[in-house]
Symmetry: C2
Subunit: 415 residues, 2 copies
């Protein structure tokens, strides 16, 4: 690719990062279905159309740019998500969408010049609500697209203010019809949400598996009481019970080898949350993650022992309202091998990596041949205003993704 | 007093408890400045007017019923608050206002019949926002009335939705002018928010002091990060730090004699509070309370050791954003003695009690001779839908308060 191509990408990237910009920072706040999300979608539609792509939204608001080169043929699909966490970095997801668009622009120009090479058509996707911060669960758009989540459930999901997905996305004019295309294969690129690639001096990560995980939604039930005058022995304090679970989850980590287990509680809601009332109910989300399913099972067992202990000692009830878990989950080997070939051709350092976080490709890989790529992130800072990836790595990733899309359009992985 | 008087009170009480009723329960949700608070105030104004009282609101929305018996003389003031915590009991505060109104109705009838006995005029008050759940701090109305909180600060205080006191109370038509009356003395009655009186078989509590307390608003600052992929060693988890403080506060209790120390955290707010983001900031309110100021000082020292330890071990910053403390704080002995005399005359069992919770009388007692009374609460259940006091105790308390108001109107404590 030429310097001109790279400059064009960086110019569009610079415009793109201004939608939902958090004043005085390099980061963004562009949660799914908000006005900044809508503004960015409108701008992105114009960008796609200016390169000859036709823009469509499907029934959950996934945004597609379609280019038909081979009438009636299936599509090579590539993309990620433009929605963000609150006060987050500008790279997460958005880099993948912008790189996908520019990879398709480049491959489209090549195939228009030499139409005999095209086996498939090209499509770019901006998946709806990958983050799951405003509307839960995460990866909603790709879950509906792949039939893993019913459309009706997704549209009826509400945020904390009671606004539904149907209302938010309908209000932005971003809901369309079911998309009638066949997808031949899928490619996605993302910044690594960790620091191993930077430490190892690797430019391209060939994602070969996701970590195993067990995610819980707990409800801790106590009893409202005056937080000053009620005898300590009479209290059934839901917030105390919840706090013990948060601390216990962190302490679990130290019972395993270093980095064998990640645990977290990121969301916790207290009722009635008043300064002089002992809380009667606390909801919290708690995750266990590990490269080893065996570690997850053992940590799960230990956590449930703590749950029993807290129920007994603090006289609260702890209910698992919802939980879901998955085993260590491999990406298809053929996709890893294809990506390694492309990286070798481009002279880019590369190695296999696992992903701890989920991605829309986690949904797509179960249906079609899929390639998942990473570029490095400085210090692995993620879901943070200060997330940063260097321009040279953005460009290297774009070239890598372009090479993969080119191969896929010519029939790789599907013949 | 006659059965007819008691029945009149119970009839009005039954109407009164329906404002802000929580469906399917005996309790109420009538936070300060909400529509149910406004409905109740309009009804209460009509009740006062029907007994010949003139209704006025002052500049922060304290609601007064005034009866001038001695032209130009100061007023005996009696009252409490009708606002509640979310999903709270129907007795807390509201019993005191309703008992005050009926005590004044009775004494007014007596003094109209024999005007020579009246030294002072009579006033009932429904203090604005004693609870401090929607608008902080608590005891806002009586703090402004006694000059302890600037009016401008109170009016500018906003709730979680950004609505100010000025907007909420102005919208209800419940803001008036500064009240131009002199207060000679003050009396208040409340349900005990504890179970000692019930256990000891005491009908009238003569409140002689408040517990010592130290209240903290902590801000725990960490750093946003991906809650799955960020290495555990890299995390600075504000929610983990906050949870450790909540647990530590409870553990402090066990380092002292039984019931020497009460601790609580009732309110805790997480940012960004998203399932896959390590929290960057958590605000929490934490209280220490004790009948002994020495215990408070020692518990404070221990808590600060924990703060240092959590900052060090979990790499978070913990800031005391605000704190206020008070020593064990006595009520005037003359008021306690007067209340004991009245109880003896009525043949009501009585004893001295301390209050753990603050009351509007805590503000008033610093300015004027003050009497604070309790009636029992079954099992001491407080700030809970199931709070309950028996009718016979409500009536006994009304008779006691009537006796105190009669004595005050005749000049007791002020001559």
């Amino acid at each position: 690719m030429t310097q001109q191509h790279d400059d064009a990408f960086l110019a569009d990237w610079a415009v793109h990062t201004r939608f939902g910009a958090v004043p005085g920072t390099n980061g963004v706040d562009r949660q799914a279905g908000t006005e900044p999300d809508g503004e960015q979608r409108r701008w992105f539609a114009e960008l796609l159309e200016s390169h000859g792509f036709t823009v469509k939204r499907d029934e959950i608001g996934n945004q597609f740019g379609l280019l038909e080169l081979v009438p009636g043929a299936p599509y090579v699909l590539t993309g990620s998500h433009m929605d963000s966490q609150p006060t987050a970095g500008r790279f997460d997801g958005a880099y993948g969408v912008m790189a996908s668009a520019h990879a398709c622009f480049r491959v489209a120009d090549e195939l228009r010049a030499d139409p005999s090479k095209a086996r498939y058509n090209l499509a770019v996707v901006n998946w709806f609500n990958e983050e799951g911060s405003r509307f839960k669960p995460s990866m909603m758009g790709s879950s509906v697209f792949t039939g893993k989540m019913p459309l009706e459930d997704a549209l009826a999901t509400t945020d904390h203010a009671g606004v539904s997905v149907a209302e938010a996305m309908g209000g932005l004019g971003e809901l369309g019809e079911k998309l009638g295309i066949d997808v031949a294969s899928y490619a996605e690129i993302h910044v690594q949400q960790g620091r191993s690639m930077e430490e190892d001096g690797v430019t391209i990560g060939l994602v070969d598996a996701t970590w195993a995980a067990h995610k819980f939604e707990f409800k801790v039930t106590g009893e409202q009481a005056h937080s000053g005058s009620t005898l300590m022995a009479d209290r059934r304090d839901a917030l105390l019970g919840a706090a013990r679970l948060v601390v216990a989850a962190r302490e679990l980590v130290d019972r395993f080898e270093p980095e064998a287990l990640h645990t977290a509680c990121g969301e916790l809601n207290v009722y009635p949350n008043s300064p002089v009332v002992v809380a009667s109910e606390v909801g919290l989300l708690l995750d266990l993650r590990s490269p080893s399913a065996e570690v997850i099972r053992e940590a799960h067992r230990m956590l449930m022992e703590t749950v029993e202990q807290v129920q007994r000692e603090d006289r609260v009830e702890i209910e698992v309202v919802a939980e879901h878990s998955w085993d260590r989950n491999p990406y298809p080997e053929a996709g890893v091998a294809l990506a390694a070939e492309v990286a070798a051709e481009l002279g880019l350092t590369n190695s296999r990596v696992m992903t701890v976080a989920g991605h829309d490709s986690t949904n797509m890989k179960d249906d079609v041949p899929t390639v998942m790529l990473f570029v490095p992130s400085v210090n692995g800072v993620s879901h943070n205003l200060n997330e940063f990836t260097r321009d040279e790595d953005l460009i290297a990733g774009l070239n890598q993704l372009t090479g993969v899309v080119r191969r896929l359009a010519e029939g790789a992985l599907t013949e």
